[in-house]
Each structure stands twice: as C-alpha cells, then as structure tokens.
C-alpha cells in the first residue's frame, strides 16, 4: 500500500485506532473466504488497477470514473471512525476518503433517484475462495438521504495509506452508524434507483440482517444480544463495552429516522 496525501477532518472521533495489523487480519470479505483471516491470505489475487466505477440508473447520463481520477477528485480526509460489526465486535479505524455526497453530486442523479446501490467486484478468477452459496456480486444499498449524509465516506485508504486488498481496495463505502456489512467493498458499480435495491445479507436472512441495519443495542440479532461488543484495541484481550445507539453517531444521524419504528425497520 502507498502513502496518501490527507487533510484533517471535523468528523474524526478522538479514540485510539485499532492496531493496523489486527484491522487487516480480521475481516469479513466472503469473496475471499468465510474465515476471518482468509481475506488477508487470499485477497492478494485482487487486481486494483486498472479499475473503473460505472454510474448507472436514474442519472442524467451514465458515467464511468477511473479510480485514480476519482481518488483525486476531492481532498482526501483522515477520518477516524468507530466500526461496529454485526457479530458484536468493534474497532476504531482511521479511514481516508471524502464524503460520498461529493461523488453523488457529480453524478447528477434524477429527482426520482431514492436509493443508491453499490455492487462489488464479481470475478471468480480473482476470488477462488468465494463460496457458491451466495448470489454474487455482493450488493448493498442506502437510502438517498443516508448516502448524502456527510459521514458516509467514499473510502480509498486507511491508516494514511491506500486500502489493503482485504479491506475492500481500491474503493469502498464506510457508513459508520451501520453494521459493517452495509459498507460495500471493492465497488465497481453504483446504481441510482427509485426502489429499495436487493442487498446480499438481507436477501440471505431477512430476519437477521435488515435493510437499514443501524447499530442498535436495543434490537437483538436472533442469535446474540447487540447490547455490548468486544472492542478490539491494542490489548491482548478485548474489553467488552456497551454498544451505543447508531454506534455513537446518534447526534448526527438519528434525525434521518424520525418517526420510524427502529425495531420494525431494523
């Protein structure tokens, strides 16, 4: 990975980052195997150049961006975010990128665009460990107002460097108030839609992974409580800490869900 030029960000949380070594050896990236350390071994097959992201759907006209063009489009910010996995562990990661809203504005979406869908790289040759039991490509999505929120980060790097392959290189989304799986990796296509897109985990097990999947300590996963999390930091054994509503970002994002029953729309 290469160093990236970055600027400060107002959205950084003042917490100590998880050691990089832990962050890049403990990943859920099923395209490279179902084990947590699998992606750190198998994602080296991923070729991140040349790479383009195509923009489709409800936009004035379809576009294609080259990854380097996209990475240089706006100043890259250092943004340290809390990261909460649906499996009840958490990290603190210093991501590098700029708000997705900047890209969305450049795409000129039509007024009918209510949702944004992210599609990940789907190439069995580069993903030999990929289990066949899923409907690839990996798909995730956000409501337009969620995607436009300044916290939603178009992410090119972490720890001041370009993303490691297992982190979803060369470009991914980070939505810090949602469970990690909402943050699609290795994105090749962004679609603007008038309807809620199908998303990979929601399709697999709708009772376990809702479309919204906002971090919510009061809504249990069917197989475990979400009220606490193992916080992975520099210590040998992670501390168990209380999970915060919207992963601690309630002040910034709770208003997006005014009037919604968060237990129904989990």
């Amino acid at each position: 990975s290469n160093k990236l030029p970055t600027v400060q960000s107002q959205y950084t949380v003042p917490e100590a980052p998880t050691p990089k070594q832990k962050a890049i050896t403990y990943n859920n990236f099923y395209e490279y195997g179902t084990g947590k350390s699998d992606p750190s071994h198998y994602a080296k097959n991923l070729r991140t150049r040349p790479w383009t992201i195509s923009i489709e759907g409800k936009v004035q006209k379809p576009l294609t961006f080259d990854i380097d063009q996209l990475a240089g489009y706006r100043p890259l910010e250092d943004r340290t975010y809390r990261f909460r996995c649906v499996e009840a562990w958490s990290m603190v990661i210093p991501w590098v990128g700029y708000s997705l809203s900047e890209l969305i504005k450049a795409c000129n979406p039509l007024p009918s665009a209510k949702y944004v869908q992210f599609l990940s790289l789907d190439d069995h040759k580069q993903q030999p460990e990929r289990p066949d039991s899923y409907d690839w490509p990996y798909s995730e999505g956000l409501r337009m107002d969620e995607a436009m929120h300044p916290l939603t980060l178009l992410t090119f790097g972490a720890y001041g460097e370009t993303l490691e392959n297992q982190q979803g290189a060369p470009v991914r989304i980070i939505v810090p108030w949602k469970y990690g799986f909402k943050s699609a990796k290795s994105i090749v296509k962004i679609r603007f839609l008038d309807k809620q897109p199908p998303t990979t985990w929601n399709d697999q097990a709708p009772s376990e992974y809702g479309f919204y999947s906002n971090v919510n300590p009061n809504h249990s996963h069917p197989r475990w409580s979400q009220s606490q999390e193992r916080h992975i930091d520099a210590a040998l054994f992670p501390r168990t800490i209380k999970t915060l509503p919207f992963n601690g970002y309630a002040d910034q994002v709770a208003s997006l869900y005014n009037g919604m029953d968060l237990n129904k729309n989990f």
Partner: protein, 232 residues
C-alpha cells in the same frame, strides 16, 4: 497389540490429546491469539470438542476393518472424556469470556479478596446469559449436547457401569450420537446463512452414523425376521 504396549501408549495418547491446549497457551504467551481472542478461543475449543467426539465415534467402525485393531477400544473412553473436556472449556469460554464477564477485573478482585466485586461482575453478565439460554436455539442445543457429554463422563468409570448394569449403561451411552448430532446442529446454527463451514464435520458424522444404521439393518436381515416378531 499386547497389554504392555497399550499401557505405554496410553499416557502418550493422553498427552497427545492435550497438545491443542498447549498450542493455545503458547499462542496466548506469544500474543498470537489474533484480533479477537475470545472468538478464537471459542472456535478453537469448540472445534476440538467436535474432533474428539468424532474420533471417539470412529473407534468402533475402524475396529471392524480388521480384528487386529480390536485394541483400539481401550482408547475410546479417553477420547470421549477428552470430548467432554474440550466441550467444558468451550462452555467456560462462553461463560467467562464471551459473555463479557470482566475476567481480568475478577482476578484482581480475587487477589484482594473482594468477593463482593466478583459477585457484582457476575451479576452484570448473568442477564445476557439467561436471555441467550431462553431465546437462542443454537445455545440451547449446544448446552444440551454438553449436558449429555457430562452425563456420559460421570457414568464413565467401570464401577458406575457395574452399578448401573450393562444394558442401561449402554442405552445411556448411545446418547453420544444425539450429542454429536446436536453438536453439528449447534455449529451450523452459529454460522451465517449460506456459510457451509460445518459440512465436513457433518459429513464425517453422517458416515459414522450411517455405517451403524447399515450394520444394524444387515444384522436384522441376517437373522431373518426381526427378533421381536419371532419371539411373539
């Protein structure tokens, strides 16, 4: 294999079965437990409980390959007890680490004899476990599997078998198959939908169980009609 050889081999097998624990301790000393040590230890002990259980179940079919392998039966109980041992470590990991129990705090409280503090720490995690047992079916089947292994472990000494009588003892100990099936279900249910990591354990168990069913059917056919029908 003669008695002397078995007597020599037994402590070796005993130590061999402890190697996973040694590996875990070594990993801990070297800080090699990975980013999420609690999840790692949980999976590690659970896996070894399963391997020991499957190994103990494999003894009988392997013996049938050749009469020269009859001596293997002398190791079955040890493997079964090791399955219980690893299942207990697995359960203890859940109770004292996975639950969020502040084990480091508990140790320091123990050192200053602050038992009240330990009770407080326990009270903090107890509700999470109660909810798990009430609500989560993978926990329920896992706990049931452990309880079966516990019953088999406490009835494993020779004198208990004599006291119980051969038949009732054998009937009880056949529930090891139920424990194994429950263990595989427990494993499968802990995984995300579409993650089929459990299939290897499931396949081995299916083969081991299938062979038994096949043999018992063969036996019945060899005897002609089922015994019960004849005696009536």
């Amino acid at each position: 294999m003669n008695n002397n050889a078995i007597r020599l081999l037994k402590p070796l097998v005993f130590l061999f079965c402890l190697l996973p624990v040694a590996a875990l301790v070594r990993q801990a000393q070297q800080g090699n437990l990975g980013a999420d040590p609690v999840a790692h230890i949980t999976h590690f002990t659970g896996n070894w409980a399963m391997y020991m259980l499957l190994l103990s179940l494999a003894i009988t079919p392997v013996r049938r390959i050749s009469s020269k392998l009859a001596w293997l039966i002398r190791f079955r109980r040890m493997l079964g007890l090791y399955a219980f041992f690893y299942a207990t470590l697995h359960l203890a990991t859940y109770v004292f680490l996975f639950s969020g129990f502040d084990i480091a705090g508990a140790f320091s409280n123990l050192r200053i004899h602050d038992f009240h503090g330990i009770a407080e720490q326990w009270r903090a995690v107890w509700p999470v476990m109660v909810t798990d047992i009430q609500k989560r079916r993978f926990i329920q089947v896992g706990l049931l599997a452990w309880f079966i292994l516990f019953l088999l472990a406490i009835t494993s000494p020779q004198w208990v078998m004599r006291k119980m009588g051969g038949k009732p003892w054998q009937t009880l100990h056949r529930s090891v198959y139920a424990a194994a099936v429950l263990a595989v279900i427990h494993f499968a249910w802990t995984l995300k939908k579409g993650n089929l990591e459990w299939w290897k354990d499931g396949l081995v168990l299916a083969i081991l169980l299938g062979l038994r069913i096949l043999w018992s059917l063969q036996k019945r056919f060899a005897q002609g009609r089922p015994k019960v029908a004849v005696s009536r």
